[in-house]
């Protein structure tokens, strides 16, 4: 005797939207699960007509992608939600931003174009505040990293220690100057850039297994003995489609915007 959920099936998704949001300030210490709970409650507080999955335990239709790790700030997080009623994206952005705690801020919402969100998120740019009193050794360190063919690293996972290469995924690794746009973006995410740090920027391709900023730092230590006095603070500056020639990451919502303009 199989049980069936009572009542009619939930209303279908009539509109998909993609949301660009941040995780910054103190909230960088939140985990992805913390964000998820917070976001789903914000949807309810804002009375957003979110669509639900069918079944005994209906779940709101939200797809998350590439969440920044706990402790890492981000200017560039993305997700997609399915709505049961059509919404104006500008109004929706305002309502959601007000419903979310400060630090989880909605930057922009666009109607989703064709294709999967995860597919356009090809790479990330990370800003790393690397505590050091010896800038030159940091430069030598990442140069050695870039010169290497392969940088074997390991990470503890649920299934034990996993070994993989951290070099191939790294497109660029270099110093960032004070006052540059990357510097300022990082500053907006964490309040103020720490003194006594070499400020690095890494552009890293999204691969499987994922190479995270931690893995790059681990690799730096392995290859050049470069050890920070305390764990570096990390901020995700951008993620999106990667131009492999210039290492420039473009806005992942550009394609969705083009779809809208071309059809309207």
């Amino acid at each position: 005797m199989a049980r069936k959920p009572e009542g009619p099936p939930p209303p279908p998704v009539v509109q998909k939207v993609r949301i660009h949001y941040t995780k910054r300030g103190r909230l960088r210490f939140s985990s992805h699960r913390d964000f998820q709970r917070s976001f789903e409650r914000a949807l309810r507080r804002g009375n957003v007509p979110i669509a639900f999955s069918a079944g005994f335990s209906p779940h709101p239709k939200v797809s998350y992608a590439n969440a920044a790790p706990t402790g890492v700030a981000s200017q560039a997080e993305y997700l997609e939600v399915g709505l049961a009623k059509r919404c104006d994206v500008i109004a929706l952005a305002k309502v959601l931003d007000e419903s979310l705690p400060v630090g989880f801020d909605v930057v922009e919402i666009v109607e989703a174009g064709p294709g999967a969100l995860a597919d356009v998120l090809e790479a990330s740019a990370w800003l790393i505040e690397f505590p050091t009193d010896d800038q030159a050794s940091v430069v030598a360190g990442f140069e050695a990293f870039l010169a290497a063919e392969e940088v074997p690293v390991q990470r503890m996972t649920k299934n034990g220690i996993r070994h993989f290469d951290a070099r191939q995924a790294v497109v660029t690794l270099g110093l960032v100057g004070a006052g540059s746009s990357d510097w300022e973006a990082g500053q907006r995410a964490v309040g103020s850039i720490l003194d006594g740090c070499a400020i690095l920027k890494a552009v890293v391709r999204h691969t499987t297994p994922a190479v995270r900023p931690d893995d790059v730092l681990y690799g730096l230590r392995e290859i050049s003995g470069l050890t920070p006095s305390s764990p570096p603070r990390v901020t995700r500056l951008a993620q999106g489609p990667l131009d492999p020639q210039t290492a420039v990451i473009s806005d992942p919502l550009d394609r969705d915007r083009k779809v809208i303009t071309s059809t309207s």
Partner: protein, 649 residues
């Protein structure tokens, strides 16, 4: 500078600790007020981990009540895990509040809510990290007044040397009373120093200042007498009772944490107090009389709370929620209101005899159908009479049959082990009950795939209950009885796999027993074990029975008493109990009479529906039972139509 944020120093430590989000604050509906614009400042502590402390209703209520006042602020602080404690010591970061990350030592009050005695060592950690002297005798005029509240404060004697004050009962009015006394004293230029302030609290008769009382002992270790050493301190201190819950609709805006906590829901207290008269239940004894929130009051709180939080489950809290005089109407009307919104309702505690399937169906109409939980507490009919849990086995079987017939597949049953007069047979009867439950469920549902989980814990006698004189069962006997029960459940292969068995070993209960019925001499044990590293004693992975037993042996070395004396010893009628000067309203003669009647198996009815049996509370406290029915109903509310604001073109 006082009130300055220590966050920059703390932030540097957070990358090294587990779940750093619990220390950063910023919860939805949290409040930060300007330090200089307030003259009364409370740090409210729940002495357990953030994940347990944040959802605590008592703390949330006081936080809001104080912050609503002009010129007063309240911030929250929780026990930090040992990983952060170690770093805070190394880097000299003080115990902090999570709201504005101010040092706890900067506040006027440190109010600590003890739901359980197992939080005492965490208080010492917090005081020590805050740079506040452990002993109240060593504190100065600028140190916070350390106030204990919560159920454990009905016997604060074991922590008497650590706390300046204790408040019994409901805190809503008490915090405002203390705040106003502090304000006056400050505005007068703090005359007479800390001692004068404490005297002003004491002479209200409703704030207990342990330092103003002396305890003398007989040669055999029993208490000879407790007496005030200050003419301005009254001989007895009364508990506080808030009347008319509709006037106190708190929390209005429940806190919504970012971190995961033990209760992922918002709660509305639908009534306070319980007069079912279960003799083991301290909560039911010390929170009398029953005061109901009206159906309309509940409706307003649910609406305001959901709007303010976005939670998808509402817990209708009380000591026995199905006993609300209009619970059927509350459940139906709320289910109607929130139809189609994925909002679930739950009654965290339901009596077997008050359950009915209509109620259960209303509760799960818009949410998920989880398991049902009942607490028969005692396995045999005989022992249930002893504890005055007037539920028959037939009631239970009828209830679970209905539940299984209506599609529930899982029933959880709570029991206790080590009750007064209990024998092996009483406990082994639990196995028989569980088998009958499974048998009834299989017949009612027509399938084999149903489950029943038996959860059982050791009984700890508590102050201000008829069992306050009882001998606690020692942990060896508790463990032996539980092992027999486990074997009895597993022995029958027809049912064994359908019955889950969860139990706790007897050792933590013995330490809880020591702390529950202890006197001031137990303070030495707490301090000794804390110095030896005891923390988070409510967590099995941190609790060490051996460390506590050793600390007790050391502390009582030259005394005529020991751990057993406090726990497995039955007390006599004329013995002065450590909490006799603290008035819960219950008449000691009535408690004794009820204790004697329990031994003979005589039951006592609920005074909500039968004549008063003179427990003493209403007379002593000038209170009365406040229950419905009001006859009112909740009118439907239209959930704000989002399409107006969000409508797409």
């Amino acid at each position: 500078m006082l009130g300055e944020s220590v966050f920059p120093a703390l932030e540097a430590l957070l990358p090294f600790v587990t779940k750093p989000i619990q220390y950063v604050g910023g919860e939805l509906n949290s409040t930060v007020k300007a330090w200089d614009e307030c003259d009364v400042r409370w740090a409210l502590m729940y002495p357990d981990a953030y994940e347990v402390g944040l959802p605590n209703q008592g703390s949330m209520i006081l936080y809001e009540v104080i912050n609503e006042q002009e010129g007063m602020l309240a911030e929250r602080t929780y026990a930090v895990w040992p990983d952060l404690e170690k770093l805070m010591r190394e880097h000299k970061v003080p115990q902090f509040t999570v709201d504005a990350h101010r040092a706890v030592g900067d506040f006027d009050f440190l109010g600590v809510s003890f739901s359980t005695e197992l939080g005492y060592t965490n208080l010492l950690t917090a005081l020590d990290l805050a740079g506040v002297a452990l002993h109240c005798a060593d504190r100065g005029i600028d140190d916070p007044i350390v106030v204990a509240g919560g159920h454990a404060a009905f016997n604060p004697e074991p922590i008497a040397r650590f706390v300046d004050a204790a408040v019994l009962g409901d805190g809503e009015e008490a915090v405002l009373l203390m705040s106003s006394i502090l304000r006056t004293w400050k505005s007068q230029g703090r005359p007479g120093g800390r001692e004068e302030l404490l005297l002003r609290f004491a002479e209200t008769g409703s704030v207990y200042i342990p330092a103003f009382y002396d305890v003398e002992y007989h040669d055999d270790g029993r208490i000879r007498r407790v007496s005030a050493n200050q003419p301005r301190a009254p001989w007895r201190i009364s508990k506080h009772t808030v009347m008319d819950l509709d006037q106190w609709p708190y929390p209005k805006k429940p806190l919504v944490p970012l971190a995961e906590t033990v209760h992922e829901r918002m709660s509305v207290e639908i009534f306070r107090g319980c007069t079912r008269g279960c003799r083991f239940c301290q909560a039911g004894m010390i929170t009398r009389p029953v005061r109901e929130r009206s159906i309309t009051g509940i409706g307003e709180m649910v609406k305001a709370g959901l709007d303010a939080t976005g939670y998808e489950e509402v817990g209708l809290l009380s000591l026995s929620s199905a006993d609300h005089s209009e619970i059927a109407e509350v459940a139906k009307d709320l289910a109607d209101r929130y139809e189609g919104t994925q909002t679930g309702l739950s009654l965290p505690s339901t009596r077997v005899d008050a359950f009915n399937v209509d109620l259960a169906n209303e509760l799960t109409r818009n949410g998920r159908r989880s398991g049902l939980t009942f607490a028969p507490e005692g396995g045999s009919e005989r022992i249930r009479k002893v504890i005055n849990k007037m539920v028959t086995e037939e009631d239970l079987i009828r209830t679970v049959t209905t539940a299984y017939a209506n599609g529930w597949r899982q029933v959880k049953l709570y029991f206790m082990c080590g009750l007064p007069t209990e024998t092996d047979e009483d406990v082994l009867q639990i196995a028989e009950v569980a088998k009958r439950v499974i048998e009834a469920g299989r017949q009612a549902s027509g399938m084999k795939d149903i489950r029943c989980t038996v959860s059982i814990g050791g009984f700890v006698p508590k102050p201000h209950t008829p069992f306050q004189w009882a001998a606690q069962l020692d942990h060896e006997a508790t463990d032996a009885r539980l092992a027999k029960l486990r074997d009895a459940i597993r022995a029958d292969r027809r049912y064994g796999k359908s019955i889950g068995f969860r139990y706790h070993d007897g050792k933590p209960g013995i330490i809880e027993g020591l702390l529950s019925r202890g006197d001031r001499r137990v303070g030495d044990v707490i301090e000794t074990v804390w110095k030896a590293g005891a923390r988070f004693d409510g967590w099995s992975e941190h609790f060490s029975y051996d460390a506590w037993a050793q600390a007790a042996a050391d502390a009582f070395e030259s005394e005529p008493i020991d751990l057993n004396w406090y726990t497995i010893r039955e007390r006599g009628e004329d013995e002065v109990l450590p909490w006799d000067h603290l008035d819960s309203g219950l008449d000691k003669e009535w408690l004794w009479q009820d204790w004697q009647e329990s031994i003979s198996g005589a039951e006592v009815e609920d005074c909500r529906w039968t004549p008063c049996y003179d427990c003493g509370v209403c007379d002593q406290m000038g209170t009365s039972i406040q229950i419905g029915p009001t006859g009112q109903r909740l009118i439907p509310i239209s959930v704000v139509d989002s399409s107006a604001v969000l409508a797409g073109s």
